[in-house]
Every structure is written in C-alpha cells, then in structure tokens.
Amino acid sequence: MAILDRARHVAPFLIVAGAAVWLWTIAESFSISTRLGRAGPELWPKIVLLLMLGAALWGVAEALLKGRSEENETSVLITNAARSAGHEEDARKDLAGETDDRIDRQPVSAIAGMAAMLGYVAVISYLGYAVSTFLLLLSIMLLAGYRKPLRAVLMALLGALAFYFVFQRLVYVSLPLGTGPFKELSLTLMAMIGVR
C-alpha cells in the first residue's frame, strides 16, 4: 500500500517533468529571427520550462522522501493563525469540509460530467445550440444528483430556451443551427422569437 501511495503521489510530478522536457525540445526548434547573441523568442519559455522541471523534480523527491499520504494544503499563514487561536484542527476540517456529514464522493459522476461537456462541444454543430444545450443542462442536473426528473426536464427546456433568447436577441451572437431536422427546429425557434 505504501508503494502504491507513493506512486500515486509521484505520478503527476513525473507527467509534468516529461511534459517540460518534451516542450523544451519544441522550444529548441523556434527559429531565431534575431542577431546572434541576442535573447530570442525561446528564452522566456525555456526559463519557465526550467522552473517547471525543477518544481516537478522537487515534487518527486518530496513524495519519495517524505512519502506523506496526507498533505496540508492550507496556507502557512492560515495554519499559524489557527494554531495560535487553538483551532488548528477545526480549521483544517472546516476548510476541507470534513465536518460536513452531507458529503458523498462519486468520481464516476465527475467523469460522466466531463464526457457530457466534451460531448456537448462535439455535437453542437450537428444538433444545433438549443437541442444540445437542453441535453447538457439535463444531463448535468441528473449527474449532479438532482432526483426530480420531470422537473429537471422542464428546467432544462426553459433554461435552453432562455439561453437561446439571450444569445439571439440580447447579445447578438450567431449560434450553431445544426443539420437536417435540427436545423429546421433552430429556424423555427428563431422565427418564434423574431430573428430572421
């Protein structure tokens, strides 16, 4: 378990270190359009990449040496102030929401939420703005644990129409119409709110 715990802590830092090295090789290829010896367009990104690589290696070393499974993510000023007031443990729990017995962890919901957001971006040009917005609103409500499906449908419908109205009549942004029957639906909606 200790090895797994350390691997879990080290992994993000290793990914960042790998990304920094890869981006460095890309920065090497920026063509230098300046006189020899002058700082070129790759200098600033390379300094930032060095900082990133250094921080990632520091993180790896810290995770391996300390092997801490629980990090204190609170600012030192907050920790010191709460400690001096005798509320260090209360502050840690209250800031982390640990005293809240209403909490229930569901990582699958978050992954499904990501899929819904990416799906929305992928289908918006086919289904049009109104239909895809209705579907996204509904799916996020249900995935986030709203337990009244009929009310969710109604709110998603009204919400999608309200957003459509705001875009078309108030901020004048052109929205994806969709294709086939969805385009017909979008045109009908536009006609209903007086947009030609």
Binding site: N80, R102, I103, G159
Partner: protein, 506 residues
Amino acid sequence: MDTLANLLHGFTIVLQPLNLLFLVIGLVLGLVVAVLPGLTLVMGVVLALPFTYGMGVIPAVILLTAMYVSGTYGGAFTSILFRIPGEPIDVPLLWDGYPMARAGEPALALGWTLFAALAGGLFAAVAMVFLSGPVAVIALTLSTPEYFAVIMLGLSSVVSLGGSSLPKALISLSLGLLFSAVGTDPTYGEPRFDFGIPILQDGIEYLLIMVGAYGLGEVLTRMEVRSTPVNLPAIGSIRTKLPSLKAVLGVKASLIRGSLVGFLIGVIPGAGATIASFVSYGLESQYGKRRRELGTGIPEGIVAPQSAATASVGGAMVPLLTMGIPGSGATAIIMAAFMLQGVQPGPHVFFKSGDLVFAVFAAVFASVIGMCILGYFAIKLLVKVLAFPEAVTSAFVVMFCFMGAMASRSTSGDLWVIASFGILGYMFERFRFPIAPMVLGAILGPLAETSFMTTMISFSNDWTVFFTRPISGAIMALVAVALIYPLVSEWMGRRRQGRQSMETSS
C-alpha cells in the same frame, strides 16, 4: 483636497442610474454567490465577467467590484445561523458567531457581523484612497528591471501564500506562464507552441483559462464531492439587531486591529480575505482584551475576522490600480475586465484616467454601504437561497461558462479550449494543485515576458541587472524571502510538534 474632489466626482459617476443599477446587481449577485451551494465568490465573479463585454469599462468594473465586496459578507449569515460557511473566509466566524447564535443571540451575532463589515470596509476604503496616490508615484519611477521584479514578487507571494505545497504551486504558476506564451511571441512575432492548430495561433485567451478552470473545474469537483440538499432548521424570525454604542466602544481595539490587519494583508499579493480573516482572529487570540473567552461566542471573535475580511478588499485594490498587479483570484478577474476593455491598470492609467480610478474607489465605498443595507433588509431571502439545489446551480454554471466562451470570439474552437481547461481545473482539484497561480501566471505572463525581454535587450543580455540594481535587487530579495518563508514555517511547525510529542511521552 484634490483627492476629495476627485472622489466626489467618482461618486457622481457611480450614482449615475446605469452604474448604480450595475452596482446593485453586483451587490445582490455577490451576496447570493456567497450563500448559494455550488458557487464560490471567485467563480461567481468569473461567471459575470463575460457579461461585461458589451459594457463600458466603468460599469463593468463597478459590477465586479460590488460582487467582490459583498461576497466577503454574504457567507457570514449561513456560518452564524447554520454553521455552514459559505466561503473559507467565513470559517473563523464559526468559532464565535455560531456559539453566540446558539446561546440565543442570532440577531445580535448578525448585527456584529454587519457592523464589522461596514466599519472594516469603510476604513479600508479610506486607506485605499489615500495610499494609492503615493504608491502610484513610486510605481511610475520603476523601469523595466524593477517592474519585472515587482511582477515576480506578486507571483511568488501567490505561490508561497496559496498553500503549503510549494512544488505544486510552482508547477501551477509555470503552466499559467506557458499558456500565456502560446501563439505569436510579442517581441519578435515568432509562432510558439501552436502545433499548427489554428485556434492556438492567436494564443489562449486568459478568459477561457479562468472560466474553464474556476467554473467548469469547480462544477466537476462538486459533482464528485456531492453534498445533499440542506434542510434549513427553523430558527425563528431571522433578523439583525445592531449592537449598542457602548458595546461598540468596548470592541474598538479589535475593530481597529482587524481593519488594519485586513487592509495590509489585502495589499500583499496572494494573501486575500481568507488569510486576513484567519490572521485577524489569530491576533485577537494573542492580543485581545478578552482572549481567554475567545471561542465562547464573544463579539470580539466576530468583529476581528469579519472586519479584516471586508477590509482586505480595499487593500487588494491598491496594487491592482497602481501597479497592475492583482493579488487574488477575484482581483485577477477585475483586472481581466479592465484588459478586455483595452485598459491596462497601472501607474499610467492611475494618473491619466482619474475618472475611472476614482469611480472604482467610490464604487468600493458605495458597495460597502449598499451591501450592509441589503444584508440588513434581505437576510431572510438570502438565507433561503441555501436550500436551492446544488445540481441545478451546477447545470446553469456550466451553461454560463460555455456562454462566456461563445460570446468571446464565437468560435467552436474556444468551446474545446474552455472544456479542456475545465478538465484541467478538475485534475488540479483532484491532485490538490492550486488554481490561482496558474490564472495569475496566464494574466501576468505577457507583462512579465515583455519586461524581461525589454530588460535583456536594453542591458545586452545581462541578467544580473535584476539583482544588482538597488530597487530591483531589494525586491528580488523579497521574492526569495517569500519563497523560503513557507519552508521555514513548515520546518518550525514540525519541530514544535516534535517537541510537544516528546514532552507528552516523557
């Protein structure tokens, strides 16, 4: 006299009907987001940002400033009445505000909060007006090496004060700086990190980073860490009872200390209202007249954190308006509102656009007073917001985020970018990387790079100028102190703990 005349002129701008309307809308939204489950103050200000595109710079900044001010106050209601902190700022209020309410004095506890917010906010607003001028005069004398050092100080204090994992904060900052480097390089016009993808060739808009990471990322996190709806307990008639003048005079030392500490902490980039609130409570426990009674429900335990939290807003406006350095998530968004309108806050704008600057100052004063009036009369309605289902809020937050992306450039590519930053924001939360350094890095990255490159070109690639010139050298030394401070503090904490456990075992 000039300052007072300008401030008066600022009030005439704020009190124009349209600006006043945006001020009231901002106050209501700030109070609501501080209470509403599923929304944080920074998230609320971010969601309002895209709506400022079509406004002028003055109403846009008035709206966001009003949200920022009232957001430091709204969460106090639920902390005191139900022991549910709306924001991390409100956690210290749980230790005395809630016990006072439990002891049968909820109206008085709310009254002390209102009084502290009003007094702390007004004190900081006055200090902000009179300190900004001299700071801007100093900022005007800075040349590029010094300006670069000031930006580094801002970024390093955000890194060191944001959380105790320095490597994570540094990674977050460097990612933000890298995102700002995507697209055409500002000095030579060379394309960088665009991978031949058209949407990256114009660079990544910091607005998409902010809205994606703070908005969508937070929604995804809340979908994972779910809380069930709140059943509000019956607590009788909710009202606010103001303390008597005699009682107020009894806590004047706590009030002055809290307001001063809050203002000074607000000035430091990276240390916002939450740190101000905690530090002020910590100081009260060390130096307060009734320090031994703290935690039992005494007014000093409410006045100290609340006055500091509200006072920090006035403090945070000083580096933003005089040097263009935002010190927190909320001020970074206000700075973004300036930049979206083509205004780069800093000493030049401070002296050349007096109307704008003094309108912001007047907006802070008006917001502090307005939020207290709203808080006094609308508390019943605001508390009911707590029962609103988080799932519904989340769904609409997602749509507001996408709406912001569409309203920006109306390209589908921006939707992919914002969704990607939403996922990145969630991963940050999941692996406990702070988001604020990335956002500040993305905003300040172009300024940092430009001042760095200009210095390098002007001083023939001599990077030592940052350390050998007196002012930039001194500021760079402060950068080093800012970065070393959390390490030293952590080490001392561990030593103290070790000593305590040794004493306990012996």
